[in-house]
C-alpha cells in the first residue's frame, strides 16, 4: 500500500471556527415574585430548586444573572421561553 506524504508546511486546512457562545441573562424587576422567578427557572431550564433559587437570588441582589451560555439558536429558544413568562431577558455575546 502506498502512502502519500503531505508536507506539513504546504498542507492547507480549511479554517473552522466555532460560533461564539451567547449568554442568556435575566435582569431584576421590582414586581415579579421571588417564588415565581424560581419556578420559571425550574420550568425553562429544568434546574433543581436550589440551583434555580441561587440564580434568582443573584438576580435579586446583583441585578442580573447569567442563566445559560451556549449556541445562539438554543440561547434564543431559552430567551423566548423566559420572555413568555414576562421576565426581563437579554442576550449577550459571552466573553
Amino acid at each position: 500500500m502506498s502512502q502519500t506524504k503531505t508536507d506539513p508546511e504546504t498542507e492547507v486546512r480549511p479554517e473552522t471556527r466555532l460560533a461564539p457562545p451567547w449568554n442568556v441573562v435575566v435582569h431584576d424587576d421590582p414586581i415579579n415574585l421571588m417564588s415565581y422567578v424560581t419556578d420559571v427557572f425550574m420550568k425553562v431550564f429544568g434546574y433543581s430548586r436550589s440551583k434555580a433559587r441561587r440564580h434568582m437570588l443573584e438576580v435579586h441582589t446583583k441585578g442580573r444573572s447569567v442563566l445559560w451560555t451556549g449556541a445562539r439558536e438554543q440561547a434564543e429558544i431559552y430567551a423566548s421561553k423566559l420572555q413568555s413568562f414576562h421576565l426581563r431577558t437579554t442576550m449577550e455575546a459571552a466573553e
Partner: protein, 184 residues
C-alpha cells in the same frame, strides 16, 4: 352579618375562613373561600390583561432581547414578537374563561373558581403579566412597593398596590399548590 361572624360561621362548618387551594381528583385546582374584595380583583383580570395589547405596554411584558443591537432586535421581533404576543393573549383568554365559571362558595359571602390542571401555567403567568401592567400603568416602582401601605386614607397608588398584592397572594397560593404536587 359581620365579617367576623361570617368567619366564625365558616370555620364552624368546616369552611375556609381564608382563601385556600384544594386539588381535585382530576388534577384541577379549586380556589375557594375568596372574599368579595379578592373575587372582584380577580374578575378585573381580563380587562387588566387586555391593556397588555396596547403598544406602550408590550415592552413591559416582553423586554428587548438585544437592547444594544437594533438590527438583531428587529430580526428578533419579526421572528418572535408575534408568537410571544399570541401566547400572552391565549393565556389571558384561558384565564378569562375560567373566571366566567366563578360561583358562590359554600362559605358565607365567599366565592370559588375552578382551574383545570393544564391551565395552571396560563394562570400563573397571566397573574405576573397583570401585576406588571398595573405597576407600569400607575408608575409603581421599587420604592412604592416597599413603602408602608396606607389603608386609612388610601390614594390611587395605594389601591393599585393593594391589587398587585392581592394578585401576588393568589399567584403564591397557586405556585405552592403546584410545588406540593411536584410541579405541573
Amino acid at each position: 352579618m359581620t365579617e367576623e361572624e361570617d368567619r366564625e360561621k365558616g370555620e364552624g362548618e368546616g369552611n375556609p375562613a381564608f382563601p385556600v387551594v384544594e386539588r381535585e381528583e382530576d388534577g384541577a385546582l379549586l380556589l375557594r373561600g375568596l372574599p368579595q374584595g379578592i373575587a372582584a380583583v380577580l374578575l378585573e383580570l381580563p380587562d387588566i390583561l387586555k391593556q397588555g395589547e396596547e403598544e406602550d405596554l408590550r415592552s413591559v411584558l416582553h423586554s428587548r432581547v438585544y437592547p444594544d443591537e437594533p438590527e438583531r432586535e428587529e430580526e428578533w421581533n419579526k421572528l418572535m414578537g408575534g408568537e410571544l404576543f399570541h401566547l400572552f393573549a391565549d393565556r389571558a383568554r384561558i384565564l378569562g374563561r375560567d373566571l366566567e365559571g366563578m360561583t358562590i362558595d359554600s362559605s358565607p359571602r365567599r366565592y370559588r373558581v375552578r382551574i383545570p390542571g393544564k391551565h395552571l401555567t396560563a394562570w400563573i403567568s397571566s397573574l405576573a403579566a397583570a401585576r406588571l401592567i398595573l405597576a407600569e400603568r400607575f408608575e409603581v416602582d421599587e420604592e412604592a412597593m416597599r413603602k408602608e401601605r396606607d389603608f386609612e386614607e388610601p390614594g390611587i397608588q395605594d389601591l393599585v398596590i393593594w391589587r398587585i398584592d392581592v394578585l401576588a397572594l393568589i399567584q403564591e397560593m397557586l405556585l405552592l399548590s403546584g410545588e406540593a404536587e411536584g410541579g405541573e
